[in-house]
Symmetry: C2
Subunit: 134 residues, 2 copies
């Protein structure tokens, strides 16, 4: 694993831990001002709008927040990288769920910065589910 | 725009045109054998499984296939890149839809190769839709 890959893993794991602790500053750390997020329901543009999405996330929790990335794969050069993982989440008003996360990063002033997040839950709409689907 | 950014735009635009023409070889071109795809309903691993997802896509079309990327943004170094866009799709059994696409690429033998695709439709599940959502 290269130093860049290690640094990116740390950025993503620290972010997930900040979510579990509801530490908004830690959640926003290492994120670009012009971040583009494909959130479950919406396209979210910019860090302020990204920040607001966490208000709903932390509203009416059902228990301790769990936010655990697994199968984290990082593909990195020295300047640009992306990462994929599956996240197990529990404790929010939405209940237990597993979602897919892709993260896009750029190195800025020698620090890896998240410029894109794509969060999605597997669709429940039948029109998208083929005979080969689970 | 760098030559790498131009080359990546071409890879994605050619792929979308191959989808519109139902040219399976063109759809699979520039894709890695160990591709990881987060598809609408499933996690899809490897090029053979990726190929099979197009069987369902092209089954029972309702009209000419439209598959149009817009707002394509490419973030590229010389070796690793990712791209985001919104895709308008029509003509399949699922009817008209707009989805979000993130693509992860790696340069292999001097050619940009797609190693990751994340396709998602905005969720319709109420538990994920906050007061700030559309």
């Amino acid at each position: 694993m290269t130093n860049d890959e290690k640094a990116i893993r740390t950025v993503i794991e620290d972010w997930a831990r900040a979510v579990e602790s509801a530490e908004r500053e830690g959640i926003l750390a290492n994120h670009a001002d012009d971040l583009l997020m494909f959130d479950f329901p919406d396209v979210v543009r910019g860090l302020k709008a990204y920040d607001r999405t966490w208000d709903f996330f932390f509203d009416k929790p059902k228990g301790p927040i769990r936010y655990t990335p697994r199968e984290l794969i990082v593909t990195a050069s020295e300047q640009v990288a992306f990462a994929t993982c599956l996240v197990h989440c529990d404790g929010t008003s939405a209940g237990a769920l597993d979602f897919r996360l892709t993260t896009g990063l750029r190195k800025e002033a020698d620090a890896w910065t998240i410029v894109h997040e794509h969060h999605s839950v597997p669709t429940v709409e039948e029109r998208f589910i083929g005979p080969g689907s689970k």
